[in-house]
Symmetry: C2
Subunit: 221 residues, 2 copies
């Protein structure tokens, strides 16, 4: 085989990994799988596609090495292949956020105006957690909370935000986090809390980024 051919094949292989992420629905799937294992059916519900279509997309991710699957009884569970995949997904979002013209507009269309949302980064949150002067809300579905959360966080599933507003003592700051920087749950919580007169902040990114940064993680209830 010629050098040129060998080089082409090698770079085609790199490109194949990118290709597996080069579809909006698969990108959503990666974002979902970053939260933990999912069955095909659950994944399909998350991205609002048919099971057949979702299955095909998941197969594509698996074929590219980005996801792996295992059978558990009746179902097949998919997960991301490793931390490097999460890092890749994070890098991809970062490039888009910085260099894609109009991404801020698309994000605003989906997330609403964030200019009035106070944000806090991982380091700052870790520091303030040590001082213990805040309430930390994990605004994700309970299964994801159980699979792993920031120590000290309380689980407030998205649907329960309103019911839990009064649990927060007056004068205490609340930090909310969810799945990642483009997840709406924490935004909703912060808006509701702010409207109720609390000072509320959003963690800049989400739980997967916290975990990947090597910060402490609690598992279970």
């Amino acid at each position: 085989m010629s050098d040129r051919q060998a080089k082409s094949s090698l770079y085609d292989a790199f490109a194949a990994v990118a290709q597996s992420l080069a579809n909006g629905r698969r990108a959503e799937l990666v974002d979902v799988l970053a939260q933990g294992e999912r069955s095909v059916e659950d994944a399909a519900a998350e991205i609002g596609q048919s099971v057949a279509n979702t299955s095909q997309h998941l197969r594509v991710l698996a074929r590219a090495g980005v996801a792996t699957s295992r059978r558990l009884g009746n179902r097949v569970l998919y997960r991301l292949a490793g931390d490097r995949v999460e890092a890749l997904w994070e890098a991809l979002r970062a490039v888009a956020a910085e260099h894609v013209a109009g991404l801020d507009r698309l994000a605003a269309d989906y997330l609403g105006d964030r200019s009035d949302l106070e944000q806090v980064d991982r380091q700052e949150l870790a520091r303030r957690l040590a001082d213990d002067d805040l309430v930390l809300w994990d605004v994700r579905p309970p299964t994801e909370f159980v699979a792993g959360h920031v120590p000290g966080a309380v689980s407030v599933p998205p649907a329960e935000i309103r019911r839990r507003l009064d649990d927060v003592p007056d004068g205490t700051d609340v930090v909310a986090y969810c799945r990642g920087p483009f997840c709406v749950f924490a935004d909703d919580a912060v808006r509701e809390l702010t409207a109720r007169g609390h000072r509320a902040l959003r963690l800049e990114d989400g739980f997967p980024e916290w975990r990947r940064a090597g910060l402490p993680v609690a598992v279970g209830e």
Copy 2:
């Protein structure tokens, strides 16, 4: 616009960035541009494609926000849009290297057997450079060396490796680096040096990764 539509559009935008990398020739172009600005013609020569085709690929990269272009006299120069793009490219290679079955085989077809090549990582090289007990070869084209190199490195263009073998004093280790982990130049140098009886090592990755890690960089001759 519905929430579902807005979310789709946002993730389609992420996917569009991946799409721009989802072609082997464009992946090669990113690898080349990570070394510095290139004219369309030079870039075409590097990837062995026609100028028209290369121009189109570069336009795709630019449209996706991954590259930018500027006119300089007669020519149009392309460069990567920023460090985050390099980080993305690095993350992509890392995922491929770890999770793509058969990548090692493709790499071996292009690079040859690396099992007998000693490698050294950035930290180790930085430490040993401080001790000043080695010769450091920058095995890239001279323009790339001038644009930036590891302080203390001498420029040994790929075509001159053989001529420079005798410059190395006996008993002194040589470290060679080039464009990145999948670049052949440093491998060639290490093999030639080893055959000549020197102890030679390859830097695990290349100059762009060194620079991106925040390590010191020298510019010019």
